[in-house]
Amino acid sequence: MEFGLSAEQQLLRDTLDEFLKARCPLTRVRQFADGPQDRAQDLMDGLAELGVFGLITPADQGGTGLGLLDACVVAEALGHAVAPVPFIAQAVLVPLALLKAGTPEQQGQWLPELASGKRWVGAAVSELAGARGDAGVRMQGGRLSGVARYALDFAAEAWLVADQDHGLHLVRADAPGLTVRRLETIDRSRPTGELVLANVAAETLPGANASVCRMLLDAGRILLAADSLGAASNMLDQAVAYAGQRVQFGRAIGSFQAVKHLCAQAAADLEPARALLWGAAHAFDEQHDSAHGMACHLKAHVSEVATSVAKATTEVHGGMGFTDLVGLHYWFKRIGFNRPMLGSPERLRVEAARAAGLLG
């Protein structure tokens, strides 16, 4: 019996941390957030060299054939560094959709180029978790029409698009009838936007169905939770460090119980949340009966925990926490971005209740 990260997974984490520490300090994040580029190509290429975009892709398609738990290690590291790079769609959602619902030809055509970072894809699948207002995509006569909002890994050459009937399609950026619009959000480390489709030709994945779509959502939710957990852990580390050096009333503020108890509560919430992350990713990899319910509970629970950690650790920083100067808000907003994506906590708890057979 062994619960936790393997030696290989720890090595992956250390490699990622080292890369991000060297190449993606806060100055690089700011440069991206304030700049005109919608891609941090240097970071994307560096991560591609490390093989992170082919993690779940089988070796014969140019990947390493690992699981979602391995992908969580990466997502947590990226959240920890608020890295302005694509990952969830490029490395997991689109490859997973191709593996579960694509033809061998489609797999051969897309998977190696996604793994190597030669082609960049996003996922416009938010409506699978609930369509807001007029959002939603219909398939009619082999063509797609409608609106898909809040795409993940938005800055892409093609997107995975879900329709209202659990169909999955790949839509290229240059497809006639497609209008792509960037939507500005609080989180400038990850561009997002909407696709407006008017009778757009698409490459349909023939094996798509409700259970494949549910798998995609579960995987996405687990990775978003990993990202939030990484971001929240970093905020706690920053708060502990700050409280250790900031002196008021003649002593480090970290020696005041009012301050240290905020940090203790954050740590007490984060430790079990990380265990739940590993457990949920493992259940997903094993396709255990509990996998769907755990993914819902995980994302709901981590969203709540990360939100409260983000608040508390900002408070520990006092006025400086509120400024752009310290930059803590990048992590605060990263956590804020992840919270509603692919299901807000309230909706996820309803879904978990349904998975447990509690809805009449």
């Binding site: 019996m1 936790g4 250790g244 970290g254 119980q257 990899d285 709540e304 309803v350």
Partner: protein
């Protein structure tokens, strides 16, 4: 990641299960430590190797090598079958492991076997009116007079003092030493002249605790565990274990399952509580937290098994999280019943023997006991996160 215990343990689980099936009619239903059925059941379990499993045979145990997964399986199976896993209490859970580590050979031979068999019932004399969170400031004194200690002072929160034959007790023997170095760990009979026990009724209206007063209580000098002034070290061999046992997430899950049943049965204006979104959301929040604590528990078990490091912080959060979680869970049980949730004692519509109210209050006691959750936060931040200690006040 590998959550399987493996075939050897699957076989062990099957063996335990079949034992429980065959013998469960001999298990005690309830009853105190002196109950004859409970003592007979304990003897059978030790014989079978399911109780006192890792205590050496020469001291009355079953003599098996320690094995975390076997212990885990035993706990899981007895809990699932709702059959008593044998005698517990502070003597078996706390004093026996302490004696094994710090006791003399004579003390081990004198006390361990009768404690395991239920022939000696113990209570623990630690807290005092002026020494709660700051336990090491305790003032009950023991002064050597010839070949006896003479003890004067008062203990509080002493569970089962009114039932106990013996007490293991922290006393100050070196008044001039620094506070942690002046304490000794003594064992003595509760019928020694000069001991007065007063029951302390708690908010559940049960007298689980007592105040114990010592007036010139004379205790033979050799009844000390460890050396003079080493009592704090002796006590800390086991204090650590006490905290986390209060917060088993699998028991919380069983409680949540009972709560789910209650919410399916309970209606208001003809609508089941489980169908009311506000209550369902609270239930699901608790479920998410229990799942996290269950996975956390597996992580800690795995760390013990595989000697993994890096879980020190993780270990410190269990007592605080587990007790807060149970307190909230029991409150939801009360809330879903509306006014009937207030029922207590002899109320004709009492649900589940009043357990929701009793546990709700009892867990508030556990949030405070075993080191208050505020003290836990100090420990988490100072030892777990390395934050600076509160400056010592002069003279404290």
């Amino acid at each position: 990641m590998d959550l399987n215990y493996g075939p050897r343990y699957d076989a062990f689980r099957a063996e335990v299960r079949s034992f429980i099936q065959t013998h469960r009619h001999r298990a005690p239903r309830a009853g105190g430590p002196r109950d004859a059925t409970a003592k007979a059941w304990q003897r059978l379990l030790i014989e079978q190797g399911y109780a006192a499993r890792t205590i050496p045979r020469e001291y009355g145990g079953a003599g098996h090598a320690p094995d975390l997964l076997e212990s885990r399986i035993l706990a899981e199976e007895f809990s699932q079958a709702r059959v008593s896993p044998g005698l517990g209490g502070q003597g078996i859970n706390m004093l026996v492991p302490t004696l094994l580590e710090m006791g003399t050979e004579a003390q081990k031979r004198e006390f361990i076997a009768p404690t395991l068999n239920g022939d000696i019932v113990w209570c623990q004399g630690y807290s005092e009116p002026g020494a709660g969170s700051d336990l090491a400031s305790l003032r009950t004194s023991a002064v050597l007079d010839g070949d006896h200690w003479v003890i004067n002072g008062q203990k509080i929160w002493t569970s089962t003092a009114h039932l106990a034959d013996w007490i293991f007790c922290l006393v100050r023997t070196e008044p001039d030493a620094p506070k942690h170095k002046g304490i000794s760990f003594l064992l003595f009979r509760m019928d020694t002249p000069g001991i007065e026990i007063r029951p302390l009724v708690d908010m559940t209206m049960n007298a689980n605790f007592n105040e114990v007063f010592f007036t010139d209580v004379r205790v033979p000098a050799h009844q000390i565990v460890g050396r003079r002034g080493e009592g704090w070290k002796v006590a800390n061999v086991i204090l650590r274990n006490e905290r986390n046992s209060l917060a088993d997430p699998n028991i919380a899950q069983a409680r949540l399952n009972a709560l789910t049943d209650l919410m399916r049965a309970e209606t208001v204006d003809g609508v089941r509580l489980i169908d009311q979104p506000q209550y369902l959301d609270r239930l699901m929040r608790l479920q998410g937290r229990i799942l996290a604590m269950q996975q956390h528990d597996l992580r800690l078990l795995s760390a013990d098994l595989n000697h993994t490091t890096g879980v020190d912080l993780a270990r410190l959060v269990v007592k605080m999280q587990g007790t807060e979680l149970r307190h909230e869970l029991e409150l939801l049980g009360i809330d879903v019943m509306g006014e009937r949730g207030l029922a207590y004692g002899g109320h004709p519509q009492l649900q589940d023997e009043g357990s929701w109210q009793v546990h709700y209050m009892y867990y508030l006691g556990l949030i405070i006991g075993g080191g208050t959750n505020q003290i836990q936060k100090n420990i988490i931040s100072e030892r777990g996160l390395g934050m600076p200690r509160e400056p010592q006040l002069a003279g404290a």
